[in-house]
């Protein structure tokens, strides 16, 4: 310690790494939990990606197993479904990202405009609750609502003298239904972030706008939305990284093994799960995960690059 302080006193220009570390020690200490977390759970397991390139043997371990090159990657290409799977995954995620953020922003703004405190809290809680329901239960709820023989919706249709609806045999309705279910489940949670961002806007600006005679819509258009822009951009950039990663729990529990619906509902995760369950192949599954990570990484880099070109302030790095 004394060594470093001596160095600091000798020259200000040539600061060593250790010195820099020492200088920002308080900030680093505050960062430490996050650093430890990411180190433990993101960096330490990283060499394990090697499993995607071997024929994994339990006893020989990841690094002792036979190297097979890209053989584990062939499986996805050979399926002949890579295109339709990637398409479904990406389109669903786009819908989730765009609609999800749009609705969340709208809800956050509406919540912000509500003056009755009680109503505001109650409605926020109610919207938040579905987030805590397990996907398994969501799957059962959807089945109980929609199934043909005893479903709630069909009971009502029959009572009204209408013909029954058969969604579980009709692939075309599921993109709508799944996006709807996703929004129902996630919007409450997502809107909290935006709501917090709105609360963080300097009250003086809004007060000033009010004094200047801006109505509620003008305040939203000219103050709140522009202030939310960085948050929106960052959240979307983060979400884009996972654009080739599907929400396995949601799709598996709602669609399950109903192959009639796969045309519009099969995503990479569900396909890989079904196809590799039969031989329990860690290596193939890791290869697919690696492929998804690479594509996700490329998309984040591209998006970040694009954002940087448009407005450097909003880019992640």
């Amino acid at each position: 310690m004394s060594n470093k302080s001596k160095k600091a006193s000798t020259g200000v220009k040539k600061r060593g790494v250790l010195e820099t570390l020492w200088r920002y020690r308080v900030l680093e200490l505050m960062c430490l939990p996050a650093i430890v977390f990411f180190f433990m759970f993101s960096y330490m397991p990283m060499p394990g990606i090697w499993v995607a390139f071997v024929k994994y043997n339990y006893r020989k371990g990841i690094f002792g197993s036979k190297f097979v090159g890209l053989q584990n990657f062939e499986f996805l290409a050979e399926s002949g479904k890579l295109f339709s799977l990637t398409r479904n995954t990406v389109l669903y995620n786009l819908a989730f990202i765009i609609l999800g953020n749009l609705v969340a922003v709208i809800i956050a703004i509406l919540l912000n405009e509500i003056r009755a405190k009680m109503f505001k809290k109650v409605s926020q809680t109610l919207m938040f609750l579905p987030y805590f329901i397990s996907q398994v239960l969501v799957g059962l709820l959807v089945y109980s609502l929609l199934n043909y023989d005893t479903g709630f919706v069909n009971e009502i249709l029959v009572a009204l003298g209408k013909a029954k609806w058969q969604p579980y045999s009709d692939p075309s309705v599921w993109p709508w239904l799944i996006v709807l279910i996703h929004l129902w489940q996630q919007t409450g949670y997502n809107s909290v972030v935006y709501f917090a961002a709105i609360c963080g806007i300097d009250a003086e600006i809004i007060e000033a706008a009010k004094v200047d005679g801006a109505n509620a819509f003008q305040r939203i258009r000219y103050i709140i939305l522009p202030s939310l822009r960085p948050t929106i951009v960052i959240l979307i950039l983060f979400a884009l990284g996972g654009i080739v990663r599907g929400n396995f729990g949601l799709f598996w529990n709602i669609i399950g093994s109903n192959s009639v619906l796969y045309e519009t509902t099969d995503i990479i995760e569900t396909f890989v799960y079904r196809a590799t369950m039969s031989d329990f192949n860690f290596s193939t599954a890791s290869a697919v995960g690696f492929y998804q990570s690479l594509v996700g990484f490329a998309i984040v880099m591209l998006a970040n690059f694009a954002v940087k070109k448009i407005d450097p302030d909003y880019s992640l790095f």
């Binding site: 397991p45 060499p47 043997n57 006893r59 050979e78 002949g80 109903n258 329990f280 193939t284």
Partner: protein, 554 residues
């Protein structure tokens, strides 16, 4: 400066990551050495075992160990009466085991929900949490796990020393069928008569009412039966409350009933590849070749679906419990194997249809009846293996030898405590004592010991309908052929991706075909399936399997 800082942090993390991994690899190697790991090490152990074999009495059992036995099945609820009864039996059994081999047994359950993935995951952990592993070459991935290194190679010396009775009771040609690459991995259940060929289980009394005085003996009869039930038994929940998972068995059943196809077990769930009875060693794929028959099948199943035999959204009907509904008369059909039928056709306390209706009879139409195409069970349909992660493989073998061959241990483990869970009647048959409650005292339904049952020690269950069962068994014995491919453990590494893709395609189309859920014509859906199978590489797989067949059999 910032960049430098980041670079340092990253490189430090990389180095530490590598170091961490290095140590974990070292760990796994040591574990391997402990429990007979790689090929070279197994040779060493074999030597030690030989010396031990020379002096069997000198086996060191001074340390008391707990052997964990892994089986599929739902555990009794913790704290329930059921669990207390199981523990009472285990206490008695463990007293014997402690006395004889200074070990005790505990049961490690793999619940039925997603059992295959949990089963494989547990094996992959290799942390010594399980010792004895109940396995099967056709329904529990015995061979893939052996290849992945999950099971311990059992040397002849080890078996002779630690499981001498088992070693002596299994003939040499049966041990041959338990080998992969020259090493024994499985101890087969080869002395237990059972039939697990699938078929339709139905109400024979209702079939007679429907005009099938002789019962159901073909798919056409079955069609008559289900339609009659739909029209006349209106208080049923469904004719068949299927949960949408029987598509493959139905399709296999149709093919067995219309061809001489003999499927190869254990390649994939769909039974896509096999030989035929007249030409066992030429690989055929009925999914591609039996187009006309499959179209007929697709049409017939559409007919069943339109008649409303099963729930409309059958593929999402995960909550069905058809078998229990069959027991109480809420449904008219169950699709499963003969062993299940032996239970359902018997007037046991659980099967209340027989109490409610004195005329009730349960029949079985087995797949392949029309063509006489029935294949006897492979002896590795049930087998015991030892986990390669086990800390006490020797003691595990000793415990297995006792529960498989020792009459006292066998009866305790399979039936429970005599006088509580079972008893002998005047004819020497097994009955249930007074006050017996099948819900809580059925030990057999809790130990799930399907990996080494032994007909020398079995006591026939007096509640079973032996007249009907023996009659059907005799019929099977007349037409059966032995499973011909017991020794064929294909090396599928290079074609695994294609097999997975073929199975996936076949499964997806068969769900639609078997449950009549496809849109468009039957011809179209079958053609579409065949095209998809070809894209997935079914012909490459056939060629590869054929070349391995030729190498083995020709």
């Amino acid at each position: 400066m910032k960049k430098k800082l980041l670079a340092t942090l990253l490189s430090v993390s990389m180095v530490m990551g590598l170091a961490a991994c290095g140590s974990s690899t070292a760990d796994s190697t040591t574990t391997g050495a402990d429990t007979t790991g790689a090929q070279t090490q197994s040779a060493d152990t074999a030597k030690t075992d030989t010396s031990a074999g020379a002096d069997a009495a000198a086996i060191d059992t001074s340390e008391h160990v707990v052997i964990s036995y892994m089986t599929t099945g739902d555990p009794p609820e913790s704290g329930s009466e059921k669990e207390a009864n199981l523990n009472a039996m285990l206490d008695e059994l463990n007293a014997i085991l402690t006395e004889k081999v200074n070990a005790e047994l505990e049961i490690y359950y793999i619940p039925w929900t997603d059992y295959l993935s949990n089963y494989n995951l547990t094996l992959a952990r290799m942390d010594g949490s399980v010792d004895l592993v109940g396995t099967a070459s056709d329904w529990l991935d015995a061979w893939p796990n052996a290849k992945n290194g999950a099971f311990l190679e059992l040397s002849e010396e080890m078996l002779q020393t630690y499981a001498p009775q088992t070693w002596a009771s299994v003939p040499a040609d049966h041990w041959e069928l338990c080998k992969y690459d020259g090493d024994i991995y499985l101890m087969p259940e080869d002395n237990y008569a059972q039939w697990t060929n699938h078929g339709w289980i139905y109400r024979l009394d209702w079939a007679k009412e429907a005009g099938l005085s002789n019962g159901v003996h073909s798919w056409e009869d079955m069609t008559t039966y289900v339609k009659w039930c739909k029209e006349n038994k209106t208080d049923l929940k469904y004719v068949w409350d299927s949960d949408g998972t029987q598509y493959a068995q139905m399709a296999n059943g149709w093919i067995a009933s219309h061809t001489n196809f003999v499927p190869i077990d254990g390649i994939c769930s769909g039974a896509l590849w096999g030989g035929s009875k007249d030409d066992l060693y030429t690989i055929t794929t009925p999914a591609l070749t039996e187009t006309e028959s499959l179209v007929e099948y697709a049409k017939l199943m559409k007919e069943w679906a339109e008649a409303g035999v099963w729930p409309t959204d059958v593929l999402n009907n995960t909550s069905g419990s058809n078998r229990d509904e069959f027991r109480v008369g809420d449904v008219a059909v169950e699709q499963h194997h003969t062993q299940t039928w032996t239970d359902l056709c018997s007037a046991t306390p659980a099967n209340t249809i027989f109490q409610d209706d004195p005329d009730a009879e349960v029949g079985m139409f087995y797949f392949g009846e029309e063509t006489g195409n029935v294949i006897a069970l492979s002896i590795t349909h049930g087998a015991m293996a030892v986990s390669a992660g086990s800390d006490n493989p020797e003691r595990a073998l000793m415990v297995y030898d006792l529960i498989r061959n020792d009459p006292e241990c066998y009866k305790l483990f399979n039936y429970g405590i005599q006088g509580v869970s079972w008893d002998l009647d005047a004819n020497g048959l097994r009955t249930t004592p007074e006050g017996y409650n099948s819900e809580t005292q059925n030990i057999n339904g809790m130990t799930n010991y399907w990996w080494g049952r032994n007909d020398d020690l079995e006591i026939k269950d007096s509640t079973r309908n032996w007249d009907a069962i023996d009659k059907l068994y005799a019929e099977y014995d007349k037409i059966k052929i032995d499973y011909p491919y017991g020794q064929f453990v294909p090396d599928v590494d290079s074609i695994q991706g294609k097999i997975d893709n073929c199975n996936e395609q076949y499964t997806n189309y068969m769900k639609q075909i078997s449950y009549g859920l496809y849109n468009g014509s039957a011809e179209d859906i079958v053609a579409e399936m065949q095209a998809a199978l070809k894209t997935a590489g079914i012909e490459d797989v056939t060629a590869e399997l054929q070349s391995q067949f030729d190498a083995l059999y020709k």
